[in-house]
């Protein structure tokens, strides 16, 4: 595939082999709704969507990301405007399908890791490309009511 025009971003290891520090806590960055427009109720669009034109909804199937807070059947918001980097939960293209995994980028190697030790990592071999479709910013789960 000619990577430059594909729908996914190609991610390669940092040239210096640098290791970005894993974040110790999850920092949510909420959008900044205009504060002085003075009208209206709190709008979830403002809260959950930072880049409206780049944000897409997907449904997650499978439980391997449960320990990362994403359960089978959850809706996730996927933001394509964010550059994928270490420790992001991403939607990657694997064998022409969409897969939800954590992107781990250490010591010049990149892996897609499930939040489940029983699921083997997908190691991105040197010379191959990892296609990241977008970065997961939020998970929406419905509770039984």
């Amino acid at each position: 595939m000619s990577s430059h025009d594909g729908p996914a971003q190609i991610v390669r290891p940092l040239p210096d082999g640098g290791v970005r520090k894993p974040r110790s806590s999850v920092a949510f960055s909420f959008g900044s709704p205009a504060d002085d427009s003075g009208i209206g109720r709190i709008d979830l669009n403002d809260i959950l969507i930072r880049h409206a034109q780049a944000t897409f909804l997907m449904r997650v199937a499978g439980a391997s990301m449960r320990d990362a807070g994403i359960d089978d059947g959850d809706l996730v918001l996927v933001d394509r405007a964010i550059h994928p980097s270490h420790d992001h939960v991403v939607i990657a293209i694997v064998d022409d399908g969409f897969v939800c995994r954590r992107l781990v980028h250490e010591a010049q190697a990149m892996r897609l890791c499930a939040a489940d030790a029983a699921v083997p990592d997908l190691v991105i071999a040197e010379g191959t490309e990892l296609q990241v479709w977008g970065v997961v910013t939020h998970a929406i789960k419905s509770l039984p009511v």
Binding site: D5, P7, H51, Q53, S64, V99
Partner: protein, 439 residues
């Protein structure tokens, strides 16, 4: 300076964003009850599939060459178009949306390297939406369209033009000698507004390349051809002749949009505007004896007013059966508008786009052209007469002389949907059809 931004093979590119397996394969998108190819990937073009070619003529390529055919998914294309257009609008002071996949940007008063801006725009649209675009810069619309053509061909067929013109091509940055070389290498048929017949006649007269036409005598061209061709020539020479909304009609969509002088906050005045747009596009539609299978409405706040809440929605409604009836189109537009309007936003632009255009004759074959609103053939005839009378009055007394009172109740939904067996999910407009990601 103007730019024309255009999505490469729009419908196919939209499908590929959500179906990576289609990347690199020959793909066509079908419309009109899956009867006609309305979009082709580069691979399908290389197989010889022509624009608007009937499907049965190329069906054999499915087995022979792995050609993939998809039914048109206008909800998806409308939403992806809106994302692209909204991003493009942030790059220039003025945007004129020309069709579902093209817009002109007016960079008047903007300093700095426009090519670089063009590349940034292209990169942002590609990253944010997954859609590949081409950008052509030049002094007039006709030239910008031609620069866009060069940008696209240089990318698609290496060797056709210098490689650095690929994807983003700015005629204003080329030396006269290099520009001449480009014009010599470009067939007159690539010029906006020069159709097959005109091209054939130009060839008879020995005018083969754009360069040949540019050297022709404008007065002679007008005498032999038309005022339109003379205007095209003046545009090619860098003299702007096409104002806002004065471009040749796009092939596959009809649109009408306007930037408002003052931001609009209220639904009522938006409904009024959108009804006016619907009346305009309906008239254009009937003048080319077509009907539309889907209608898109978009709204936009100003990307330059950072202090404002931003909201630039769009939505597409399928029209089953396809129609050219002003009342139905206005009612559809109103309904779409009402569904996406959010109070408290300062809207500066709105528009109505008709897509899935098909010849009226074809649609007339389907039994209930106007659905159960007017089931009797006589009433149907009356409806057609009413529309003709409206068009005549508007032409005589000016646009909007006769208008349609908002008639949302006229709109009916029909179960009898068009044939579209291979339609992909509506990934971005239906919650139950979003992509599933495996975890």
């Amino acid at each position: 300076m103007l730019a024309l931004v255009d999505v490469n093979n729009m419908y196919v590119s939209c499908e590929r964003v959500f179906r990576p397996a289609l990347v690199g394969r020959p793909v066509v998108v079908l419309s009109h009850n899956d009867g006609v190819c309305v979009a082709r990937s580069n691979e399908a073009k290389d197989l010889g599939v022509e624009m608007a070619q009937p499907w049965f003529q190329v069906r054999h390529l499915q087995r022979q060459a792995g050609l993939v055919a998809l039914s048109a998914n206008f909800e998806l294309y409308g939403d992806m178009s809106n994302r692209m257009m909204t991003l493009a609008a942030g790059y220039a002071p003025r945007q004129e949306i020309y069709s579902i996949d093209e817009c002109f940007l007016d960079f008047a008063g903007v300093r700095g390297s426009l090519s670089r801006r063009g590349r940034e725009l292209r990169a942002q649209v590609l990253q944010w939406t997954g859609l590949p675009t081409s950008v052509g810069f030049a002094a007039t619309k006709t030239l910008a369209k031609l620069a866009n053509h060069v940008a696209k061909m240089a990318d698609r067929k290496p060797g056709s033009y210098p490689r650095e013109l690929a994807q983003v091509c700015n005629f204003a940055e080329l030396s006269p000698a290099r520009l001449e070389a480009v014009m010599r290498a470009t067939d007159v048929g690539a010029v906006w507004g020069i159709g097959r017949k005109t091209r054939a006649r130009l060839l008879e007269g020995g005018l083969r390349s754009v360069f040949d036409v540019m050297r022709a005598d404008p007065v002679a061209l007008r005498r032999q051809f038309s005022v339109v061709l003379e205007r095209t020539l003046r545009e090619l020479r860098g003299e702007p002749c096409l104002g806002v909304d004065e471009a040749p009609d796009a092939n596959q969509s009809i649109m009408c949009s306007r930037s408002f002088g003052e931001p609009v906050l209220g639904l009522a005045s938006l409904v009024e505007s959108v009804n006016g747009f619907a009346a305009r596009v309906a008239e254009k539609l009937r003048s080319q004896r077509s009907v539309a299978g889907a209608l898109q409405v978009f709204l936009s706040t100003s990307p330059f007013r950072k202090q404002d809440r931003q909201h630039s929605p769009s939505a597409t409604l399928r029209l089953t059966p396809p129609t050219a009836d002003t009342r139905l189109l206005a009612a559809a537009a109103t309904r779409v508008l009402e569904s996406m309007f959010r109070p408290g936003h300062r809207y500066v632009k709105a528009g109505v786009v008709l897509v899935d255009l098909q010849p009226q004759a074809r649609a007339a074959e389907t039994p209930d052209l106007f659905g159960d609103v007017t089931p009797e053939p006589a009433a149907r005839r009356d409806r057609a007469r009413l529309m003709l009378a409206m068009d005549a009055l508007n032409q005589r007394f000016g646009q909007g002389a006769v208008d349609v009172a908002s008639a949302a109740r006229q709109l009916r939904h029909h179960a009898a949907a068009a044939k579209q067996d291979q339609r992909s999910p509506r990934y971005t407009t239906r919650l139950d059809e979003v992509i599933t990601a495996c975890a």
